[in-house]
Each structure stands twice: as C-alpha cells, then as structure tokens.
C-alpha cells in the first residue's frame, strides 16, 4: 500500500488521525500517550492531521476515528516477544483477528470500532497500528527502560508512515517540551492558580 489513503481526493477531504491508547497510570501501558505527546512536541504538521492522547476509550474511540481517511494507532501489544519489541500492523491483519465473548460492555475496542464504522460505510480507509511489547503494566506511572527506548523508535515510525502517506511534516528546530504530566514530580511549585 504505497498510495495515499485518500487517492485523488482534494486536500479538503483529507483527515489523518494519530491516536495514542493506553493507561498512563499503569507503567508501560502509558506508551501510546507518551509517544503521541512526544511526536507532537517534535513535529509540526498540517491542521488536517489530529494527534490525540485518548487513554483507554473502548468504544468512545468512535468519534475520533469516524471522520478520518487514515488512522495511526500507537499502543502496547500482547505478543510473546521481548519487552520493547516494536511492530507495525496493517488494517487487514487487525481485522482478521478472531474476537471472543464480551463480558463487560467495555470490552470492545479498536477492532470493534473499525468493524462498526465499516458497517456504517464510514471509517478510515487505511489503518496502522504501531505496537510495542510492554515490560510491566502495574499501577505506577512511568515507562520501563525497554519501553522508553522503543517509544523513541515509535515516534520516528509514526513520522515515517505519515510521510509515506504524503503528509508534509516539519521537524521543529527546537522541540517543545512534551507534557508527560504523569511523570511529573509530586508537589508542584508556585502559587495556586
């Protein structure tokens, strides 16, 4: 798939969504939010690209994905590979995976969102998953060394895929400071707001 997802669509119809998924309070599960916030700090991109840290939205993913022509998801993945392993998945691989029984209504996630949108005739035409195998997802904010190293590569992988799609990116000469509030030290300095 080397053609941009929007084919010959005029620019006004292009919309690319980059979303980071995961729980920032649970160690490496916060990788997705960490990567997209660093991407935002490092690159400038056109207004038709949206970059969002969505946490763990379940089906609340729908509003962010429905209008996008192309979607890049960054998340941790379950895989029997060493922590920090980085993988790129494409739409066909994601949709081919079998699904199990729902128990909690909040089980649905990315795959269900995409299938649902496909049924409505909406949804992105190109979907990529940038996935990293986590080391530890336990209740303590902050990434492990393995995940942090992979996060660096993941930021560049997102940039590379966007460029491949034809998105003009500008690397900031002076990167902004990424707001990783969950890694902030305990008590803030200064006055009450």
């Amino acid at each position: 798939m080397n053609e941009p997802a929007w084919g010959d669509d005029p620019p006004v119809h292009r919309r690319v969504a980059v979303v980071g998924l995961g729980n920032v309070l649970l160690g490496d599960d916060g990788l997705g939010p960490f990567v997209v916030r660093h991407f935002e700090a490092r690159y400038d991109y056109p207004p038709w690209v949206s970059v969002s840290d969505l946490g763990t939205p379940g089906l609340d993913l729908v509003p962010f994905v429905a209008d996008a022509t192309a979607l890049i998801v960054v998340d941790t993945i379950l895989l029997d590979e060493p922590p920090g392993t980085l993988r790129l998945y494409r739409q066909e691989q994601l949709l081919a995976a079998p699904r199990g029984q729902r128990l909690s209504p909040h089980d649905p996630g990315l795959v269900e969102t995409l299938q649902m949108l496909a049924f409505c005739g909406d949804g992105p035409r190109e979907v990529l998953l940038v996935g990293v195998v986590p080391h530890l997802c336990a209740p303590r904010p902050g990434l492990s060394a393995a995940a942090r190293a992979a996060a660096e590569q993941a930021v560049e992988m997102v940039a590379e895929e966007l460029r491949r799609m034809g998105v003009p990116l500008i690397q900031r000469l002076q990167p902004l400071e990424a707001d990783i509030f969950w890694e902030r030290s305990l008590v803030r300095e200064g006055e009450a707001q």
């Binding site: 599960d29 946490g55 379940g58 379950l78 199990g100 909690s104 996935g131």
Partner: protein, 566 residues
C-alpha cells in the same frame, strides 16, 4: 444436581470481571462477582498536589474520564470549603449532561441491545412493515420505508460477505431471543443511527472541555473556559449556539427513539420483568447544582431501603453529613490486608492476594456499604429516588415509558416493575430523557447569566496549613461516584474513590450480604448453560465498568473471555 458456570476473562486484555453462577433446575441458585484486577490507583496520588488530582483520577478509567475529573475537583473544593462561580457550575453541568447522553446511548445500542436483539433474524423482516410499526410508535423522521430497506440491504450484504464482525459475539437463535424480525430490523437501524447521535453528544463535551475523552477545562475552584462573547478564541455566542444545536439533536434522538425502543423491548420481553431485582436498597446523590455552594440541585439524591419508596430520605447538599458519615467499605471478602469495614478517609489500600475462594476472599473489588447495607446505584436508583420525592421531570418521563410499554404489552405497568433487569434499562432511558431536557435548561441558565454581565469562572483560594478533609460526589452514568481526600500541608495524604461499579459489583461483606450483581442473578432462568445469555443480560443491565483500567491490544486475536461449565 447443580452445575457451576464461570465466565472468566482469561487474558489480561480489558476483561476483568469474572462471574460465577451455580445453576440448579434451569435457574441461578447462587452467584459470585469478582473483580480480577487490582486498581490500586489511590496510592499513586499520595504526596501529590491536590490541584493535580483530577488529571490523574480522570485516567482511572478510559470511559469514565470526565466523571472522575469532576468528582475530584468537587472533593478538593469541599476540603478547602470554597464555592465555585455560577458559570463554572453551569458549564460543568452541561458537560455532565452531554457526557451522560453519550454514555447512555452507547450503553443501550452498542453495548447491550444485542442481548435482546437477534440481528440475523432481522434479515427475515419486511422493511415496509418495520417502517409502519416504527411510525405508529414515534414521530421520528428517520423511520421511513426507504431507511429500513436500505438497512436491510446493507445487513444482507454484510452477512453475505461474512463480515458480520461487529455482531459476531451475539447469541443468534438462542431460545431466549424473542423479538419479531421487524423489531429486530428496527433495532439494527437505530443501532446505526445511535452511532451518529452519541458522537453529537460527545461534540458538546469536546467544545466545552476543549478535548475529549480527557477534558482540559477544569480547575479546583472553577473552570478554565474564558468567557468573552466577542472573542473567537473563548467561549462565545457562536460556540454557545453550536452547543445548543447539538444538544437539541441528541435530545430528539433520546426522546423519540431510545425511549420508544426501550418501551418496545420491555413490552415484548414482559416475561423477563420478574427477573433481576436483587438488592432493593438504593443510593443516588443529587447533581446539577443550581447555586454556588451546592445546596440546590436539578437532579435529586437520597436513599431507599427494602424498596420502600415512601420512606425515601433525601441527600440535600454537597456537604450533607447523612452521606458523609454513612459510607464505608468492607474488605472482609476481598484481597486486601485485614478484615475491616472503614470510612473512606480512614482506609488504606494494601493488596494481599490469596486464591479465588468463593467461601473466603474472591475479588479485588471492595464492598461499599451505606449504614452497613449493600446499595444498588445507577440510573434506577436515581429514578426511584426522584419518583419517590415527586421530581416532576423524572415522574413525567417514567410515566411515558410505563404507559408506552403498557400499551404495547396490553397490561397496566406500575413503577414496581422497575425493580428488575429490564427496569435498569428503562431507568437509564428515563434518566437520559430527563438529562436531555436539563442540559438545555442549563444552557439557558448559562446564557442568561452571561447576559447579565457575569463572566466569573474561578474562585481564588489558598491552602490552609495542617490537615483538611473533603469529599465530593457526582451522579455519574453508572451511579453514585464519590472521592474522599485528606490533605496535609498542601499535599495529598489519603485519597479514595468509591466508584459506582464497586457499589454494584462488590463481593459479599463480613455478614455475608451479597452485592447487587450477585443478588440480581439469583433466580434468573438459564436455558442453555453453554450459552448463558441470561447472565449477560442481567450483568449488562448494570452497565459494568471494571474493565477499562488497562488496554493492551491483542493484534493476533486471542480469546477475550470464555465460558466454562463445571
């Protein structure tokens, strides 16, 4: 002979609720509800700045972000003893109402309708008859023959191509599925429309919260939405009218589609009305404050014990000692160190995992109690409390649902049927209809207040030295949510969140009293133990949310949860 059914998430992806039921002679004899993952979020907050607490608590759960953010700022404001400006109350209230509309619509259509609707059966429907039926029930303009034919064609194409993925987890052809094909087709049509309207409701949250799902506009003491009607970068008339238009669209869907579908499902599953009652002690808190201090509200709160509506006791303010002094949590049957039942300010969260033992400890969920009693929380609790207190909009919309369902079922339905699995669904729809109305009312209040020249959005404050304590509550889509904070010299010394799904999914306590999920499952019929649809119906009716604390994707598709019969 009895048989044990276990519905158990076997991977750590998302599913963290395990339900065990003992089945004898085709019905549930006993049940156990177990949270399979330690949340342990509270210790993360210790030592942090209370101004940051809401940023962290809105990450507890990815679906309930907004509700934890709002409850957290209320708890810290309560500890500081500060009032917030009227504009801040109204803006928070509109966010609360819009988020609730989004959440209730998604819950019914996308998350639980398939427990009652057989999608495959919809293929046998006559679309013209479907449209005729729909038009006889509601004035909704999108129930036409054209619309129903198009949905049926789309569904047929999907089935033919083997792409029924979204519906792949349904129990097609299960003996407990009873809707006629036309009603199933109507439900599929509205399932698709619901996707549009939940997005519309979500746009309101995004416009005011600046981002969703994790809103950015809160502050301890108010909101960060600068108001200047002439400035394109702030909250201005253009944005306000956009919000009004979106709320009106969501309200029309709730009142003309969601509520009518609920009445139809309840009427056609009238045989299910006796099931799922469970715990009939109810707790709801007041919400949508109309004043700065939180003493006057548009949504009522209170307690009901043993289904006795005439003895309802009201919860009257953000500082009401009746709520503050009566909440406790028991860990007698949960995997924590000790066997105490304590007030949230006095709790500690020290995990101590032992094996799953239904006669001993079997859950990570604590067992919250009010005056030592298990309580059911959620839309049903609020609707019953409101009904008992004579709250006009709740009574009016409840009567609409009961009358519509009664006409279809050809029976007189009284509010007593609401103590049930279907009653929880009906109450959620009633609450959504009330919320839709109140969202527009609070929009009006905000616009009028700004019109008077009031643009205040924030109350300045300072930390006192020494120790202060506070609590904040919010009637969230899944029910009563409370946060409890102890602040010492400007840093968090203790923080506890007592969440709706803890009230409902909690285990037994030291006295052996069952939690609401457990009690509501007892007596449910089980037609086929290999496919326990009935268990899912009752558990889903609570809108459980234990599952969203962690979210690792499984791109190679392993089993999400499985059903085992022993």
């Amino acid at each position: 002979m009895s048989k044990r059914i276990v519905i158990d998430p076997i991977t750590r992806i998302e599913g963290h609720l395990r339900i065990d039921v003992e089945v004898e002679q085709g019905a549930v004899k006993d049940a156990w509800s177990s949270g399979q993952m330690w949340r342990g979020i509270e210790p993360i907050l210790k030592g942090r700045d209370p101004r940051d607490a809401w940023l962290f608590t809105q990450r507890i759960c990815g679906v309930c972000t907004t509700v934890h953010a709002i409850t957290s700022v209320r708890a810290v404001e309560n500890a500081l003893g500060i009032e917030v400006p009227l504009n801040a109350q109204y803006i928070r209230n509109i966010i609360i109402a819009a988020h609730c509309l989004h959440d209730h619509i998604v819950h019914f259509y996308q998350l639980s309708a398939l427990d009652w609707v057989d999608v495959v059966s919809a293929l046998k429907a006559d679309p013209d008859k479907t449209a005729a039926l729909a038009e006889s029930l509601s004035a909704w303009p999108r129930n036409s023959k054209h619309e129903m034919r198009a949905v049926k064609a789309k569904l047929a194409e999907f089935v033919e191509r083997g792409q029924l993925g979204i519906f792949a987890n349904g129990y097609w052809g299960h003996p407990a599925m009873k809707l006629p094909p036309e009603v199933n087709l109507l439900a599929v049509a509205h399932y698709l429309q619901a996707l549009e309207y939940q997005r519309i409701a979500n746009q309101v949250v995004a416009l005011l919260g600046s981002k969703t799902p994790n809103i950015q506009n809160l502050a301890v003491g108010g909101v960060a939405n600068a108001i200047n009607l002439d400035n394109p970068a702030t909250l201005n008339m253009d944005k306000l009218y956009k919000i009004k238009g979106l709320l009106e669209q969501a309200a029309a869907f709730v009142q003309q589609v969601y509520l009518v579908d609920l009445a139809a499902v309840a009427a056609m599953y009238a045989d299910w009305l006796p099931y799922g009652k469970g715990v009939t002690n109810y707790l709801a808190v007041p919400d949508l404050p109309l004043d700065r201090a939180g003493k006057v509200f548009d949504l009522p709160g209170g307690t009901i014990f043993d289904a006795n509506l005439s003895a309802v006791q009201e919860i009257k303010s953000f500082d009401d000692p009746y709520f503050r002094d009566n909440v406790s949590e028991s860990i007698a049957r949960a995997w924590y160190d000790g066997d105490w039942e304590r007030h949230p300010w006095e709790e500690e969260t020290v995990p101590r995992y032992t094996d799953y033992d239904p006669n001993g400890r079997y859950s990570w969920v604590k067992a919250p109690r009010f005056q030592g009693k298990p309580m059911q929380v959620g839309p049903l609790a609020q609707v019953l409390v409101g009904y008992a207190l004579g709250h006009e909009p709740i009574k009016r919309w409840a009567d609409v649902v009961l009358e519509t369902a009664g006409t279809l079922a050809k029976a007189k339905l009284s509010p007593a049927i609401l103590h049930s699995t279907l009653g929880r669904h009906a109450a959620r729809g009633i609450r959504a209809a009330v919320m839709a109305e109140l969202a527009l009312k609070h929009w009006q209040l905000l616009v009028e207040n700004i019109g008077k020249g009031d643009t205040e959005i924030f109350t300045p404050w300072d930390y006192p030295k020494g120790e202060i304590r506070g609590f904040g509550f919010h009637e969230a889509p899944r029910g009563t949510l409370s946060h409890w904070v102890v602040i010492r010299d400007g840093a968090i010394a203790n923080y506890q969140a007592v969440v709706p799904s803890t009230w409902n999914a909690g285990p037994r306590d030291a006295k052996g009293q069952k939690g609401p999920y457990e009690a509501s499952l007892v007596g449910n019929p089980i037609a086929d133990p290999e496919r326990p649809l009935e268990v899912l119906r009752t558990v889903h009716s609570f809108d459980p949310c234990l599952a969203c604390a962690i979210h690792t994707l499984d791109p190679e598709g392993r089993e999400l949860a499985r059903v085992r019969t022993l």
